[in-house]
């Protein structure tokens, strides 16, 4: 598949730049705008992560909490998310899409039904924040069976032994958390330190696409650009909040931000 996650990484690599991965919450600040945002940034990103809003997001910082809250307040439901993914995928400039959420949302919907629906609407990958190895083995298998990329996470606290185990069972894309933190706080480690961790992961699995996320902003993205991919989430969510607080158009503002992010990765 031309537009598969794997190909996207290859393409970025050919262009000698990291894949740029956006994280926004589906339905933030409302259904219409969140789709508009995704469509408008699609020319500058390589993969889109879309958060499934949950009202008890224990691993998210303030920015993504705000986004989730707005999405929920404005009525987002799983049903809508699936519809919106489908709609997005019809856009010919659409990019691979990864849904990211807490296990409760999937559990409540039903794992099997959830994955079936994902496949049906064209979801390319899944990240489940609080379903970590080895508890996720069963779910990962289900994903594999349905050709959905299940993205495992690796944290700075993950031991090398555990890392190896995780990488062994992981799909081709792996998410490396940059620091000990919830999403969305400022980078509290140096980008050098992050790249050291990154190299450890890459040494274990040179052929996996390892993306780095948490705390990446316009300021820091340039220094991490030798990674396979970089995820920017809270910085985008924050821009939506800022726009709303100033009664500005979040679509144009986010679009401008992502353009700048892209610039700094090339």
């Amino acid at each position: 598949m031309k537009n598969s996650i794997d190909n996207i990484f290859k393409e970025a690599k050919n262009q000698n730049r990291p894949a740029l991965i956006s994280y926004t919450v589906c339905g933030d600040n409302n259904k219409e705008n969140s789709l508009n945002i995704l469509n408008s940034i699609s020319e500058n990103i390589d993969i889109a992560e879309w958060g499934i809003a949950h009202n008890c997001p224990t691993a998210d910082g303030k920015e993504i909490q705000n986004s989730s809250y707005r999405a929920l307040t404005n009525g987002i439901k799983l049903k809508n998310i699936f519809q919106m993914v489908k709609k997005y995928k019809k856009n010919k400039f659409s990019k691979p899409i990864i849904l990211m959420g807490y296990y409760q949302m999937i559990f409540n919907y039903g794992e099997v039904k959830f994955i079936k629906k994902c496949k049906e609407v064209g979801v390319d990958g899944l990240i489940v924040v609080d379903l970590s190895y080895p508890d996720n083995k069963n779910f990962a298998r289900l994903c594999k069976k349905n050709s959905i990329c299940f993205v495992q996470l690796i944290a700075p606290t993950t031991s090398k032994q555990r890392m190896k185990e995780i990488l062994k069972v992981s799909d081709s894309m792996v998410y490396m958390i940059s620091m000990i933190s919830t999403t969305g706080s400022a980078l509290k480690v140096t980008t050098r330190k992050i790249m050291e961790n990154y190299k450890i992961v890459k040494k274990i699995s040179p052929y996996k696409n390892v993306v780095i996320g948490f705390g990446i902003t316009e300021k820091t993205i340039g220094k991490l650009k030798s990674a396979d991919g970089l995820v920017v989430g809270s910085a985008i969510c924050k821009e939506i909040t800022r726009s709303l607080n100033n009664r500005q158009n979040p679509v144009t503002n986010v679009s401008r931000l992502v353009k700048n992010l892209k610039k700094k990765t090339i």
Binding site: H54, N55, C56, P57, T58, A59, D60, G61, Q65, Y69, L72, K77, L78, Y102, Y103, Q104, M105, F107, N108, Y109, V129, D130, L131, S132, Y133, P134, D135, L153, I154, A155, P156, T157, T158, S159, R162, I177, I180, S181, T182, S185
Partner: protein, 404 residues
């Protein structure tokens, strides 16, 4: 599904931390927290087998918390209701005024053992927060207590205690501004600081290790009660053990030693707040704060808003262990409204020299409801697990007075 006899209920999980064939519990936590949680599990399993640690715990329970809490019969209430004998296990007499004292003390001891200097905990009614603050002070740890702003204002006396003990009270102003948000925020703090901070979860909830530590700590109550029962009755009489359920730490401590008994012999009755009653109302199973449990959710699976006059009960979830006790029918769960709890307080405080806080007032309400229908040979024991002073203002606002 059946409970295993002779195995502490907290240990009846599989290797992934699940109870009841994977239905309850587990470790639904972010990757970042896996390692510190694993470390904590190892440490705890070591400590609970360490004579030295147990001795230290017992020393603190005795000298710092004041030792055995009283067990006595409520003659006036028994007479007034004219049915079962009503007894009180007055856990509120502990230094710290509630069962949370055990759990807070143990957490501080574990934190000490782990070498960490910082301890973080959530609190609803402020009882756990207060006790954690005091224990942290005692053990020279730096404490952060996460508390909803609604609870900060309705449980002001406890907040004062915490601050005076030198703890930082972190106000949580999001969502419902109550316990559920405080726990979330505290867990976020942990995810961001798990390298330096010990997490003390305020009830028997959270990922596997946290609920184990909690229920293990409060089980001191039932060890005492067992001794006291035998002292009084020469045997374990036909019992009904009534306990209020917020997260469920108090009940688990109160019941722990009696779970192996047949339910016809020792009946376990949990009382939830009417609009925060996942166990009594057959709520769905949901993943909340790291574990699968009975929990109030909406159709979409979002965690529901709850209401209770009692900050300690205003929580949508319940301990996975209570899920297990419910599914195995070992305990039965019922509920009491704000009104019923207030009325129970009125009656109990009029007839007896007891001033239960709003939480145990729910248990008293159930006691008042069932006692008249029972016989003199039936023994009801209510866990009076919290002192009323913290709710003085709420009582005055709602019933017009607070007895001396």
């Amino acid at each position: 599904m059946k409970l295993k006899k002779g195995v502490n209920i907290i240990d009846q999980h599989d290797k992934f931390g699940f109870y009841c064939n994977g239905k309850f519990g587990g470790n639904f936590v972010a990757e970042t927290a896996r390692k510190p949680i694993e470390d904590l599990s190892k440490l705890f399993e070591k400590l609970r087998k360490s004579k030295k640690f147990l001795k230290k715990r017992d020393f603190y329970f005795k000298h710092y918390l004041g030792g055995e809490t009283p067990f006595f019969k409520l003659n006036n209430l028994t007479k007034y209701l004219g049915g079962a004998q009503i007894w009180c296990k007055d856990v509120s007499a502990i230094n710290g005024d509630a069962h949370k004292a055990y759990h807070a003390t143990v957490n501080a001891l574990i934190c000490k053992e782990s070498g960490k200097k910082f301890i973080a905990g959530d609190t609803g009614a402020g009882m756990f927060g207060k006790n954690l603050a005091l224990a942290a002070k005692e053990m020279k740890l730096s404490a952060k207590i996460f508390m909803g702003t609604k609870d900060i204002s309705r449980q002001a006396p406890n907040v004062k205690f915490m601050r005076e003990a030198g703890a930082e009270v972190v106000p949580v102003d999001s969502g419902s501004k109550t316990l559920v948000d405080a726990v979330s925020e505290c867990m976020r703090h942990y995810v961001s600081n798990c390298d330096t901070t010990h997490l003390a979860v305020g009830s028997a909830i959270g990922a596997n290790i946290f609920l184990k530590i909690c229920a293990w700590s409060t089980s001191q109550i039932s060890r005492e009660l067992k001794r006291q029962l035998i002292r009084e009755f020469g045997e374990i009489p036909k019992l009904k053990l009534i306990n209020v359920i917020g997260g469920g730490s108090s009940a688990l401590g109160f019941w722990n030693e009696f779970i192996d008994y047949d339910k016809k012999h020792v009946e376990l009755i949990g009382v939830e707040a009417k609009y925060a009653a996942p166990l009594a109302t057959n709520a769905k199973v949901a993943i909340l704060h790291g574990a699968a449990q009975y929990c109030l959710v909406d159709k979409e699976g979002q965690i529901a808003e709850t209401h209770s006059l009692s900050a300690g009960l205003d929580y949508p979830g319940s301990s996975p262990l209570h899920g297990l006790l419910k599914d195995t029918k070992r305990a039965r769960y019922t509920l009491a409204s704000d009104k019923e709890a207030l009325n129970a307080f009125k009656l109990v405080s009029k007839l007896e020299n007891l001033r239960p806080s709003l939480e145990p007032a729910h248990a008293w309400s159930e006691c008042i409801r069932i006692a008249p229908k029972l016989n003199k040979t039936d023994v009801i024991v209510v866990n009076n697990c919290g002192k009323g002073y913290k709710d003085k203002k709420i009582y005055i606002e709602n019933i017009g007075y607070y007895p001396k």
